[in-house]
Amino acid sequence: MTRAIPLEAVLVVAAALFCIGLFGALSRRNLVGVLMGVELMLNSVNINLVAFWRYLEPRFITGPTFAIFIITVAAAEAAVGLAMIIAIYRSWLTVNIDSVDSLKG
């Protein structure tokens, strides 16, 4: 596996996924779409961690441990974020980010 695919290939795939997720999080109008972009970014970071573990330190478990912690944080973030989206929808009756601007100066 490590001979067939260079580390750079995996990292480039993860970087592309991160940039697509960043674009989605910054530009989608729907709040759920923004959250989906954030999930894509967290996924790309996880790919990086697992790849570095596999190529650099395959005998230690630090990489998978980090990946599992990030999955935990992503689950917590998704739960709280979607609860906030539902609360926002209840009071504003919309989930478009440019209509929810009452904190704007």
């Binding site: 910054l26 530009s27 441990t65 998704a78």
Partner: protein
Amino acid sequence: MDLLIQIIFGLLSALIIGAAMMVVTVRNVIHAALWLIASFFGVAALYLTLEAEFIAVVQVLVYVGAISILVLFAIMLTRSSEGERLLTQHWWAAAIISLGLFGAVLLPTLVGHHWNLPLPTGPAGTPESLAGVEELGRGFVNEFLIQFEVAGILLTVALIGAIVIAFEERSRRRRVLTLSEEHILRQRQQATATAAQAALVTADAAD
């Protein structure tokens, strides 16, 4: 064998990147969520090719099983009427930022950097010794005990917080119509509409 792995890796990368592109560009939010599930599956398969089986299973369980269902439920509960525009006004700035980050920062760094990879030990063809689930479990109760506990507390707090944020008092709750009530309402609206039309027609005839 190497060629097979490379082909599988190429297909998986195409699946991940293509599905992610569909997630950020497709108009229907439910379709975006389904493409997100496809992307998660691709990432899980990529973990399998990286020989991290446990992470792959966790990915399928947590991301595909829990988070995407949560996203789909949020979409269904918020009945989004997105309007005609899919992206925000300044989407081009976001595109420039992400394309610039990829093309100008990440790609040159990743390709230009010399990675100090350790050489495989032992005779060629023998499988490397990888840290597996057993070491992971031992790590969680020895080295990473504090972090493990903190993660547990984080999950509990997030669960309570999600319930508190999404909770609505009974007095403020809007009544949701059942299907039969909605049907009756629609029939009544149609009846009034046809009556109004009939009145209009008779008025026209009188003229």
